[in-house]
């Protein structure tokens, strides 16, 4: 009986104290609004540490902290209902711009943009109609152009005339990488064969390195000697397999050349960091608009990685040739097929 009374008394004391403390906290937090811009990023499921997509977005946010002096916050959703909750929390807490990372967040960003019309939103990798959502920018990339360039490099490096592609989810966004890659490879060597595999049909396909490794090994056994992956951390398995079998892999999104030096031919750079940082800059300079922004070769949003880790793999004639192709794309002499545009046209 004494125990029970003690328990009730302790519980009451804690409740009273936390209420008082909560009130005190609510009072002092109101004085915190300064001229600093507050920017939040909601990462895609999988979170930080993927050495690719999410890490790249976070790097852009950190650069904005350094260069623009913003205050940052970032959320890592643990399940599919959480992106929407994070967006709401940041909108309610008065963040100026909230960036959603990844096409899976499209519905959630649209919904948040509708219920918080006074906040600015941006979504990476899927288009949102700015007429319907004037407070929402979509940040898209010309992945087909970068994939074309690494495809050309793959065909130049391949001795067997067979190159491989490992995709994450079997969806149009990933087909866009594959189509550009195959066009680049065939531009260099019209006889080049492109063998394609996908890790699966659900979002898990983007973080399954074990499957990535198994698929890469199958492709190698079929005579492929260079594999380009567009599969998030599934690709870590592809790169691992390339190193173990003495073949070549091509990284994606971030510069992955360092992961297995000598076995990563190059990486198709998708500068999510540039898109994030530039969008934050637009907000700071009061010129943010709800519109579809495309980051391509011209804007420096897409490229291929050259550094000390792959200098021995890409000879200077190879690099000159790929630079010439890049110039032709920029000049409009080569038009790489944008699979998503073809899809929309249908």
């Amino acid at each position: 009986m004494l125990m029970k009374r003690l328990l009730v008394a302790t519980a009451a004391a804690i409740a009273l104290w936390s209420w008082w403390d909560y009130r005190a906290g609510a009072a002092d937090s109101s004085g915190l609004t300064g001229p600093r811009r507050r920017i939040a990023v909601v990462l895609s499921v999988g979170g930080l540490g993927d050495k690719s997509f999410n890490d790249s977005a976070y790097e852009g946010l950190l650069r904005a902290v350094r260069e623009l002096g913003i205050e940052e916050a970032h959320g890592e959703p643990a399940d599919i209902a959480e992106p929407a909750e994070f967006l709401d929390v940041y909108a309610e807490e008065g963040y100026d711009l909230i960036i959603g990372v990844g096409f899976l967040m499209k519905d959630a960003v649209e919904k948040a943009a509708r219920s918080h019309p006074d906040r600015k939103f941006a979504l990476i990798d899927a288009p949102i109609d700015p007429r319907e959502y004037p407070n929402c920018a979509s940040l898209l990339f010309s992945e087909h152009e970068g994939s074309f360039l690494v495809g050309a490099l793959a065909a130049m490096a391949s001795k067997s005339g067979r190159v491989g592609f490992v995709g994450g989810m079997d969806i149009p966004l990933i087909h866009k990488f594959k189509v550009g890659y195959a066009e680049g490879a065939r531009h260099v060597n019209p006889e080049c064969e492109v063998l394609v595999r996908y890790a699966g049909a659900g979002p898990d396909a983007f973080h399954d390195p074990v499957k990535g490794k198994a698929m890469a090994e199958t492709l190698f056994s079929q005579g492929v000697d260079v594999i380009y992956h567009a599969s998030g951390s599934t690709g870590n398995g592809v790169i691992q397999a390339a190193a173990e079998h003495g073949k070549l892999a091509i990284g994606v999104d971030a510069n992955q050349n360092y992961m297995k030096p000598g076995h990563v031919l190059t990486s198709m750079l998708k500068r999510v960091d540039v898109a994030v940082c530039e969008t934050i800059r637009a907000v700071c300079e009061e010129r943010f608009q709800g519109r579809v922004c495309v980051f391509g070769l011209k804007e420096g949003g897409i490229g291929y990685a050259m550094d000390e880790h792959n200098r021995a793999l890409v000879t200077s004639p190879m690099q000159e040739r790929v630079e010439a192709l890049k110039a032709k794309i920029l000049a409009g002499e080569i038009r790489v097929t944008d699979y998503l545009e073809v899809q929309r046209g249908k």
Binding site: L7, I14, G75, A81, E85, G202, P203
Partner: protein, 356 residues
């Protein structure tokens, strides 16, 4: 009843102790436990939308806790709630979604809302019961250990619905493996407004959870079936000697447990996501085991435990969004809590043994 409630104080003491331990851990990583506590409370209850989220999250937790506890009372350990809720969710979605009604002819969901909702709930409940019934039948006919069978069936369920949702006849257009959105008339309506303008509503899944709760209380408190299930749970040989058909009761226990699990899935589809999405559950079925343990298999205890976990979840998200304390700290809190509950139960049992 009162004696049972007294047992719940074990969980309350465990919560207190776990809070102290986690506060020390937070201090050790150089953060302020008071600020963390404030973010937790604010995230769970600071505003109508957060209250609605907390209430909504408590529904599946209460139900799956009840599903686990019901089986447990009958001497069965149903680890398969996760798989059962997936099967139930998918069944509810194809009955409610316009994709299914297109093949059936007239738009079922749009034509008659309440009937469609009821049909979808029934489909979910039936499918969940069926899935649990497989393990139940294996147990009662062949004596297959239900722990193994339900764990295996979880994976089969997950991959089966993952395959089905990608079939052209079920999959919605777009990149995500999900069924088409259920029309507004086929969704669970809001129950009561939480914000002044009525924009934020509490989900009517609360009503489903409450009804189930009362049904479980009635089952074990008033019905012959509930009495016999408990008898089998306490001592199958004695129950058999007393003329209770043990095999039949084992199967029925699993069916009832699975039916509640199916209801979890139906509520998620009809009340939250408004469609079936592959891998939608953040492990409700497994959390149910923790909640049944924390609530000591008592219906009231389960409700309290479910609301505690739901509040922690909303709070954890807020904490992750706005402070530097990683949300894993909440997982630590939950784990420490369960350890204390399990340990306290052991200590109590020994003390009880010494007294007699």
């Amino acid at each position: 009843m009162l004696k049972k409630l007294d047992e719940l104080s074990v969980s309350a003491w465990a919560l207190l102790a776990a809070g102290v331990v986690v506060s020390l851990v937070i201090l050790a990583i150089g953060e302020n436990p008071i600020a963390v506590g404030r973010a937790l409370i604010d995230g769970a209850f600071g505003g109508p939308r957060r209250v609605a989220n907390t209430l909504q999250y408590a529904i599946p937790l209460t139900l799956s806790g009840l599903a686990v506890a019901l089986a447990f009372r009958g001497g069965l350990f149903n680890i398969g709630v996760e798989g059962q809720l997936y099967v139930g969710a998918f069944a509810a979605a194809i009955v409610a979604s316009p994709v299914a009604s297109r093949t059936a002819g007239e738009g079922l969901a749009t034509a008659c809302g309440p009937l469609a909702i009821l049909a979808a709930i029934l489909a979910g409940v039936t499918a969940g019961a069926f899935w649990a019934g497989i393990a139940g039948a294996l147990k009662s006919l062949r004596g297959v250990n239900e722990v193994i069978a339900t764990i295996m069936l979880n994976w089969i369920a997950l991959f089966l619905v993952g395959y089905l949702v990608n079939l052209p006849s079920f999959k919605a257009t777009g990149d995500i493996p999900q069924t088409a959105e259920i029309a507004a008339g086929g969704r669970l309506p809001g129950l009561f407004p939480l914000s002044g303008d009525g924009a934020v509503m509490a989900g009517s899944g609360l009503l489903l959870a409450l009804t189930t709760l009362l049904a479980v209380v009635w089952l074990f408190g008033r019905s012959v079936l509930g009495y016999e299930i408990r008898a089998v749970g306490h001592n199958p040989s004695a129950a058999e000697a007393a003329g209770i058909p043990v095999r039949g009761r084992l199967l029925q226990t699993m069916l009832l447990s699975g039916a509640i699990a199916g209801l979890v899935g139906a509520d998620q589809v009809l009340g939250v996501h408004h469609r079936f999405i592959a891998n939608f559950s953040p492990g409700f079925g497994y959390l149910g085991i923790a909640i049944a343990l924390l609530g000591r298999n008592h219906p009231v205890g389960i409700v309290i435990a479910a609301f505690l976990f739901a509040a922690l979840k909303g709070g954890a998200l807020q904490m992750d969004a706005l402070t530097n304390v990683p949300r894993e700290m909440i997982t630590v809190l939950q784990a420490v809590l369960l350890l204390f509950v399990a340990a306290a139960a052991g200590v109590r049992a020994r003390m009880g043994a010494r007294e007699t």
